[in-house]
């Protein structure tokens, strides 16, 4: 059995760890609030843009808008979005697992990794990446995420890639983040039987091809941006929960160790008394 002093030393070290996790928890809480509000604030933009696409679908001609072109799928590209830093519970592991499982259903997959954790995982699994992005920070702007959307758009337009997926952790609420795989290219209206709807008699200014040519790349850009905001909000939420669990676990451990220390102390006192008593008895006998 460990001595009382050893146990007390462990209590002190666990208490130090607890202070660190508690501080980390507070930091995550404030980062999480900011990330959550920015992900929620940017959702209407993506939703509206998507509904514009749905309205435009009847006018869309894959000939003039190559982003809409459906081809036979030989080569797919998955953009795997993870966090740069760990201490987020199982979030990154779940994301990578979900993406890999999806990749198994595809004939051939190329990868783009966003976030250091995903980059490291893909390297470990010896899956080569087309490009790697990291260090986007906690508040990226569309200018920061632009290179990612431009890259995947170019890969798709060059014909080397027939479809592009985003693998990201969708933020639902603080307790729930869902690893999600979403196809972003080719762009397909959500409503598959959209042809059944009577098309609105739209006027385009200057003309349909120009407007579509501006709307479609923008939609890709915003979808990527939104996915990254979702992942950031998920990261901070997951870290908050992980740190809270760690703080709670440290509290339990401190309680157990304190009990063990007290028991060790009692055992030591009892032992000393026994020694004195048996010593006295021996003297009396002698």
């Amino acid at each position: 059995m460990a001595t009382e002093r050893e146990i007390r030393r462990r209590v002190r070290s666990v208490r130090n760890i607890q202070q660190v996790t508690k501080a980390q928890q507070t930091i995550s809480a404030s980062k999480m609030r900011r990330a959550q509000s920015s992900v929620l604030a940017s959702r209407p933009y993506e939703e509206k843009l998507r509904s514009v696409l749905n309205d435009l679908a009847p006018y869309a001609d894959p000939e003039t808008s190559p982003l809409l072109a459906r081809r036979e799928v030989r080569h797919s590209l998955i953009v795997l979005i993870t966090s740069d830093r760990g201490f987020v519970g199982a979030m990154n592991a779940n994301m990578v697992r979900t993406a890999l499982r999806h990749a198994d259903t595809l004939p051939e997959t190329a990868w783009v990794a966003v976030g250091r954790k995903g980059i490291a995982q893909l390297r470990r699994l010896r899956r080569p990446t087309v490009a790697e992005f990291s260090g986007l920070g906690d508040r990226p702007s569309t200018a920061d995420t632009g290179p990612i959307s431009r890259l995947v758009t170019e890969e798709f337009l060059s014909g080397g890639i027939d479809e592009v997926y985003l693998a990201f952790t969708r933020f639902e609420n603080t307790l729930r983040q869902v690893p999600t795989v979403l196809r972003i290219l080719p762009l397909v209206p959500e409503d598959e039987d959209i042809d059944a709807l009577p098309p609105l008699q739209y006027l385009f200014e200057p003309d349909a091809a120009t407007v579509l040519g501006a709307v479609l790349p923008r939609l890709i850009e915003v979808t990527v941006y939104q996915a990254i905001l979702d992942s950031i909000a998920s990261e901070h939420s997951a870290r908050l929960i992980a740190m809270r669990n760690a703080t709670d676990a440290a509290a339990d451990l401190i309680e157990d160790l304190t009990l063990a220390a007290n028991k060790a102390r009692q055992w030591r006192i009892t032992k000393e008394m026994l020694e004195i008593a048996s010593g006295a008895e021996a003297l009396a006998k002698g």
Partner: protein
Amino acid sequence: MPLHIEVITPERRVYEDDVDMVIAPGSEGYLGILPHHAPLLTALGPGEFRVKKGGSEEVLAVFGGFMDVREGRVTVLTEAAEHVEEIDVRRAQEARDRARAALEAAAPMSAEDIQRAQAALQRALVRIRVSERRHRRRGE
């Protein structure tokens, strides 16, 4: 029948209200939208976005994007939009001067740099124009 208008950027919802008329900076020139306008989708240039409601008028500066008009709803999706009160004229003037200086400087610039400076110049000019309009009206 009022016209329901929303101005949304990727970062936030800038404006939402029921109004009488909007005047938007279309890519081909300014255009006015009244209730019962035919469905329209247009690209927007940088410029003043004016909203009329009752006797008053509100002005926003918008910087590119699209406007979707249908069934009494106007949705503006733009990269950036600012209320006139949010515009810092002095900063805009400084940005204008900086951009002009950069464009006139003899130093060689990459195409991307030139594009960025021109975009900055245009944004600054829109901001200045929008805020000047407001101040003129105040002076009347």
